[in-house]
Amino acid sequence: MNEDRRFEQTARQFLEQGPTEAPAAPIRAALLTIQTTPQARDLGFRLPSPRFVAPLRLAMAAAIAIVAVVGIGLRLPTTNVGMGPTPSVMATPTPTPLDTTGWVTFTSERYGYTVRHPDVWEAAHATGFWTLDNWKDQYLTELSADVMAGDLSNSKPCTYEENTCGYPSFSGWSLRLPAGMSEIEFLAIWSAPDAPKNPQCVPSPDQMASVLIGGQAGRVAASACGLTALAFLFVGTRAYVFEMEDRVNYPDGPLFRTMLSTVEVHPEDALDPPSPEPSASPAQSATPVESPAST
């Protein structure tokens, strides 16, 4: 049994141990307290939760874009990135780029790209590969994306060890598209109902906007659930994915666009996960496997 399996099995067994039924005493005590405890009545007004703020922001951004396009007569450039018929690209305003003076370069040798980020951010290199095989269960025992993040004030360094890093958070990874999978099919998995990240929040490929990623035409999709924005770039048979999380600001904003503009991809330097060992197990063979021979 390899170490990963041993760890996961031990973790599960460890968590299985212990009670699964609540004792009566704390429940009785709580219910007794509740008999004499009033509820905290609200005054009928509250700020919506971040989960709902972001769609409002998205709607506002879309409204601003429509005003800009209709009122000024400006036609936003759209780029066909070679994925068949040109989709009806959502018009989004191009944010004013931020000043990147003093930013530092992050180099991902694993995934073959560089990106610049504010110098007060903390960066963590991926420790494992992101694959279509493990993406629904990623980060189980290893970090499968590079992650860069700042703290809330965005003005002082943060560390992952002390968990002071929060958001904005920028992640990046890449993979070789499996043989037979088109770029559109790859984009579509993000908006599928069973997508592991923000299911049913990511717009379908034909609703994704064009964006320049390091001077190359890619796609960007702001999650309708408001927490993240995803950007995709296809170079040869390699797909690059960049993700921005931000609960304070609209994630597909100036910061994300500026960082994307600093991306340089080097697909020839990217590493691929080791070839999967042939397995006779029906459960294992049922999962899709990335084909390293799809160059």
Binding site: M1, E3, R5, F7, Q9, T10, A11, R12, F14, L15, Q17, G18, P19, T20, E21, A22, P23, A25, P26, I27, A30, L31, I34, T37, P38, Q39, A40, R41, D42, S49, A124, T127, K136, D137, Y139, L140, T141, E142, L143, V147, A149, Y160, E161, N163, C165, G166, Y167, S169, D194, P196, K197, N198, L227, T228, E245, S281, P282, A283, Q284, T287
Partner: protein, 231 residues
């Protein structure tokens, strides 16, 4: 309310069945194990079916409705509290405080479908408060004497003991992410939403917790090999 059983959980149980019979998987037996595991774990992974009308009534101050809700969610909340705190007394106190807070703040809950996740968030914060109040994170470390014996059974036991010791060394917020993800089977996005933290933070906490726990087990494995060599 959570939907059907997540795919990662399905896979987890399948792998467990395979682990029982490494290299010679008996499909029908594995299927039976999966069915049994489903029966016992389905509620944990899918959550309890909370009546939305009950939540609405409790929101409006109906204590009887809240009492019924408490009976539906308490087992799950206590299970999580125990696994985060690793102490029955602390877990009971956390559960009691969480239920009272739940009642007090229920009018603030707008989306009644989120009741269970909302309750879990309150519980986790109650666990944090318990841990701070008692200050027993390091004091409760149990020193277990290591006795080398037959490798198979004792290896797993030693691993779990090492896991226990290492788990007590990590912070409550790391524990919470680890338990919600590995015990309840919540995807990281839901863990993050439940705890009210960014997904990136949940991810890094899970990564760091896993790293600490894994190191503890690997260190123990090395020590065991050394013991065998010396014997």
């Amino acid at each position: 309310m959570r939907g059907p059983w997540p795919e990662n959980v399905q896979r987890t149980v399948t792998e467990r069945a395979i682990d029982v019979f490494p290299g010679r998987l008996n499909v029908s037996l594995a299927a039976r194990l999966i069915v049994n595991a489903r029966a016992s774990q389905a509620q944990r992974y899918t959550g309890v079916v909370v009546d939305r009308e009950l939540v609405e009534r409790a929101r409006r101050g109906d204590r009887d409705a809240f009492t019924t809700l408490v009976s539906q969610i308490s087992d799950r909340l206590y299970s999580v509290a125990y696994r985060i705190l690793r102490d029955a007394d602390l877990a009971q106190d956390a559960l009691q405080n969480a239920l009272v807070t739940n009642w007090q703040q229920l009018p603030d809950l707008r989306d009644t479908d989120r009741f269970e996740a909302w309750s879990q968030r309150i519980l986790v914060h109650a666990c944090y408060a318990e841990s701070r109040r008692r200050g027993r994170w390091t004091a409760t470390v149990r020193v277990i004497p290591f006795t080398p014996s037959t490798p198979d059974a004792s290896d797993a036991l030693a691993d779990r003991d090492e896991m226990e010791r290492a788990f007590r060394r990590i912070s409550p917020d790391h524990r919470a992410v680890f338990v919600l993800h590995h015990y309840l089977g919540l995807p990281l996005v839901e863990v993050a939403e439940t705890l009210g933290i960014p997904a990136g933070t949940a991810r890094s906490r899970l990564h760091n917790a896993s790293r600490v726990l894994r190191s503890a087990i690997e260190a123990d494995a090395v020590a065991t090999i050394e013991e065998v060599r010396l014997a």
